[in-house]
Assembly symmetry: C2
Homo-oligomer: 633 residues x 2
């Protein structure tokens, strides 16, 4: 008889062909949730078939993206005549005790929502609703509303499930309640007590990367984080090319469909990994830059790039998941992070929640978010000023052939042998290398510069011999990993053209920050804390970022690296009304400067197209190290 | 060259193959609206190809039901090499001066909304919105909201069209504004001044028939009325069989889809007949009985037929057209008529608006709505009491082989020759006969009874010879129209079994009315006015309805026939807030009696299964006429 092995328990059982996975699990002593009794309606018995073949009728009941990854409903799946391996997701318990996301640990604890702050927009309530009686003329929804009390409206999907839910456990039902402008709204009605299953999702919608976080709402615990490339990348690598693509016939609809596919797939993965049905996710918070926000909502973005650069919306209203197209509970309220201007969007107003910049501080602080666009904010409790520059996707693994996102197999550290030019590298998760992520790219360039294998103009050293430098005509290329050692079977290397891309990206960011400070009569030395946000890798090496001139040469203790601050800030607005209010305040207070209207920007930018900068005096510790390096020779 | 003829102008023009209908119309001097400039986006150049062949790219731009009837977008349609006939719809002008619906003329003028009452939920406003400026950080929606003033929310579809609309005529736009619980909501934004195009639709959702009325909102003028059978009929002829069908797998979804298909097709026909794009309809009011209301909203109806007969909702909230699935402006608010109980629904609370029953009157009045269910209401300003009985669809052309709805070709009057039993009949529109409608059925049965060709038990006369009576075994059949004279090529006849259906229907109604009055200590003689609603035919012949015992034998001046009161009342709630409030009040005030819980009902019903009644004293004028008839012999 074929064997069925259940992971992670490693419990095995022999079962005859045609046995359902639910039966096999019971025989193996593995617990699988079956609240609907196995009729395929609740979707809670999701498992992943990791090996072997099965017959499943799960199709149509779970999203196709998930089923192509092997996810099936255990109650609808039978084994064939060979061995099968089944992964049973780790269940979220009522206290949601799971490892928190790494990025949160980068944020000062006093800025995160406290237990008292946890107040999501949606909450569950267990009710006992009076049974229907012949002498009681009230409808099901009337009695339900009376049990809740006050001004209550009922959504159509909630009304659709009310009659059956009210009769299943003698009027004992759990309602999901949302607070909207007009009062309390019933989003959903479930039979029995499901108050321990209350989930929300935070979404960071980047031009290059999309990240989602599944959150247990009652405690604000992060249950799972998933991220991937934005499915819109084939339509253009930066927001300008996306805007152009949207102008084509059907282009806007395609962009909207593509980003929704990415988000919905990640939401499914996060949910399924914790045994949660995406339909149980009843609140969402989403942050994206202004263009991404428009594309998600299907708003034509073309006027964002035409003078006077006016977006359709800055502060989107609360919308339902169904209106937006999110594959969660259709009536779930979705709050979008408010944008400030055409190129300073919701990712920034979310990210600023990870800083003390809008709070009472003595100092003036700086916030730099390095993504496909670079955004810079300076200010304190009295003023907030922002600007944006186009950095390109070089730090997120885009626009560079060997560039990858910061995920398993990405090279995040590279040292360079001064003598031979040979690299040694380390990957995330110590897996075989697939490419170089943002922090790896910065590390590589800084070390090539420090060892002299790249000169301040970004040209590779041709006069000294290294088997790592290949010259093709006028351009040269540096080989990080030969094909034989790479996980992809292709060599991992970077060309001088690609080094130029990195230099342009870092120059755009540095010069924008420098210019903005200059405009308000400040210099870098006047700043208290400098917050750096961006998903380069797990940790940005400040010395290396300063070495290539991406960020100013200030005492290292002035810096605070935040990781994906947009995602962390969005998580905060999901679970705390106070943080959401602070975000709206930040957006309303911020003044945006349009760099393209400032003639000096081009000069500043050109001066920064050098490693670290044409004005060496701006980077004294780097110049000092270089001098020391030379005197060591 | 092929000829293109435009109707109703009868203007012809010769045009080469491949010429678009827009060009041909211009050459022929026929005006066709082209507000979008001919790019197929506005849908206002709808015409119907009545003859000949064309190449059209209209698909996907107009509903499929409409395109299968020959409707095309003139801007997207080209002629081939043969003659084409094109019907150009009559345009609704700004004053909406069109023939009003017949049914309205049956309602006392003082009950209809006056000019001062006209206050629809949705209104259009022409705005001049400030242009975007570099020094003005506001988004398009922000400036739009500022131009409206006050607390304004913007729907997602409105936001999607805002950017382009605001830039088309230098900020001159027309907004459609809806008033919701939470303030004013922008449903839609159109460039330029479209305030003269403001439409709503009233829908009467009957078990057997569906009727829609296209209304010009600013004046409350009725532009078009369309009706047809409810597409759910193949799933069951009455509400009980529909409830059973809904319990099947996928049954509820099928019923919902079928009724939406009927409603949306009728809305298209009404709109296109007046050159209106269904997307320009921005408000709807819908009335249906409780089961039809549940089926339209996709609410499981099963508990309506199970004790204690509790529906999911009685007073549905305002929903958007998109939530319900109506093919009009997706954000259009849809108000559903409130229901009172499981079998006294929104059609009754709508119909009562055509009466003075909830107003200050000295008399106690009675309202009888005769549809597939019969509903009866008695009361005045102090009390309102209702009950329902199952009449079956006999008076609406259902359950009887030759039965048809009251439409062109339906026999609405039949006289019977006392000597030969031969009929003479009249059809609606004087067209060739297709069947017998409700009023025709009553007329036929009353005249067969009066002439002795049917006896009081509903049996056809077999002893006298008539070539109209065919005996098949134990049952006989009366031939109204032989196959050769019928429009369908099939004979139009009625069997004794079908006569029984009519008798059961009239007995259910009479006995319910009699019993309800008895319960509150009243008799028919205590009543002031008796309102009769139902869509039997154009006019119900009271003498004939009394002759068969459907309604009590009272002075004829006590009766007022209202036609389709549900549709007329729904029209009133569409255009007048005061009437909508009155409807909600009526629903809240009404007390419902469940006849099935009253043992005497069965006795009353059995006694009424006779023409006119087993107790002849209840119908003195009929008995008198019969005596006179016999003495004449």
């Amino acid at each position: 008889m074929p064997t069925v092995e259940f992971l992670p328990a490693r419990a095995s059982v022999e079962a005859s062909s045609g046995t359902s996975l639910v039966t096999a699990a019971r025989l193996a002593g593995v617990e699988i949730d079956l609240p609907c009794g196995g009729d395929g309606s609740c979707g809670r018995c999701i498992v992943r078939v990791a090996g072997g073949e099965v017959d499943t009728e799960s199709l149509g009941r779970i999203p196709s993206a998930a089923s192509s990854s092997g996810y099936v409903l255990a109650c609808r799946t039978r084994i064939r005549d060979r061995a099968v391996t089944v992964e049973v997701p780790e269940r979220a318990d009522a206290n949601g005790q799971f490892a928190d996301s790494e990025a949160r640990s980068l944020v000062a604890p006093e800025l995160l929502p406290k237990a008292d702050d946890i107040a999501p927009l949606v909450r569950k309530r267990l009710l006992r609703v009076e049974p229907p009686r012949l002498d009681d003329g009230r409808s099901d929804v009337d009695r339900l509303a009376a049990a809740i009390g006050g001004a209550v409206t009922c959504s159509l999907p909630a009304a659709r499930s009310a009659a059956v839910a009210l009769r299943e456990e003698e009027g004992r039902v759990t309602v999901s309640l949302g607070t909207t402008g007009g009062g309390v709204r019933i989003l959903d009605v479930e039979p029995g007590d499901t108050t321990s299953r209350s989930y929300g999702v935070a979404v960071d919608l980047g031009t290059t990367s999309v990240a989602v976080q599944l959150v247990y709402l009652p405690t604000g615990a992060v249950l799972a984080t998933e991220s991937d490339y934005n499915g819109q990348i084939p339509c253009g690598v930066d927001v300008i090319s996306r805007i152009n693509f949207a102008a084509r016939s059907g282009g806007l609809e395609e962009l909207r469909a593509r980003v929704l596919e990415t988000v919905n797939r990640l939401v499914c993965e996060a949910a399924f990994s914790r045994g949660v049905n995406p339909g149980e996710i009843r609140q969402a918070a989403v942050a994206g830059n202004t263009v991404m926000t428009h594309l998600l909502l299907g708003l034509p973005p073309e006027f964002i790039r035409l003078e006077p650069y006016t977006p359709t919306v800055l502060e989107p209203p609360v919308l339902s998941a169904a209106e937006i197209g999110l594959g969660i509970c259709p009536e779930a309220p979705v709050e979008l992070a408010p944008c400030v201007g055409s190129y300073v969007g919701g990712d920034i107003t979310a990210g600023l929640l990870c800083t003390d910049m809008a709070l009472e501080t003595h100092e003036i602080n700086l916030f730099i978010d390095i993504g496909t666009n670079g955004e810079i904010v300076v200010g304190n409790a009295d003023f907030l000023m922002s600007c944006a520059c186009s950095a390109g996707p070089a730090f997120e693994g885009g626009g560079i052939e060997c560039g990858v996102r910061a995920a398993a197999g990405a090279i995040e550290r590279v040292t360079v042998d001064p003598e031979t030019g040979g690299p040694s590298w380390r990957t995330i998760g110590d897996e075989a290398p697939v490419g170089v992520c943002g922090s790896g790219m910065i590390d590589l360039l800084a070390n090539l510069l420090r060892t002299g294998w790249v000169n301040p103009r970004g040209e590779l050293e041709r006069t000294r011999k290294s088997d790592r430098i290949e010259v093709e005509g006028k351009r040269a290329r540096y080989l990080v990993v030969p094909a034989a050692e790479s996980a992809t079977g292709r060599p991992i290397s970077i060309s001088e053209t690609e080094i130029d891309n990195v230099i342009r990206a870092k120059a755009a960011i540095y010069s924008a920050a420098a210019l903005m400070l200059e405009r308000i009569g400040l210099g870098f030395e006047d700043l208290g804390t400098i917050y750096i946000a961006g998903s380069f890798g797990r940790f940005l090496d400040l010395d290396q970022a300063i070495a290539i001139g991406m960020i100013p040469d200030l005492p290292r203790h002035a810096y605070r690296y935040l990781g994906n601050a947009s995602l962390t800030g969005t998580f905060m607005t999901l679970v705390s009304r106070a943080h959401r209010r602070r975000q709206l305040e930040i957006a309303r207070r911020m003044t945006n400067i349009e760099l393209s209207t400032i003639p000096e920007y081009m000069d500043q930018y050109t001066a920064a197209l050098f490693l670290p900068h044409t004005d060496g005096a701006r980077f004294p510790t780097i110049a000092g190290a270089a001098r020391r390096g030379r005197s060591d020779d």
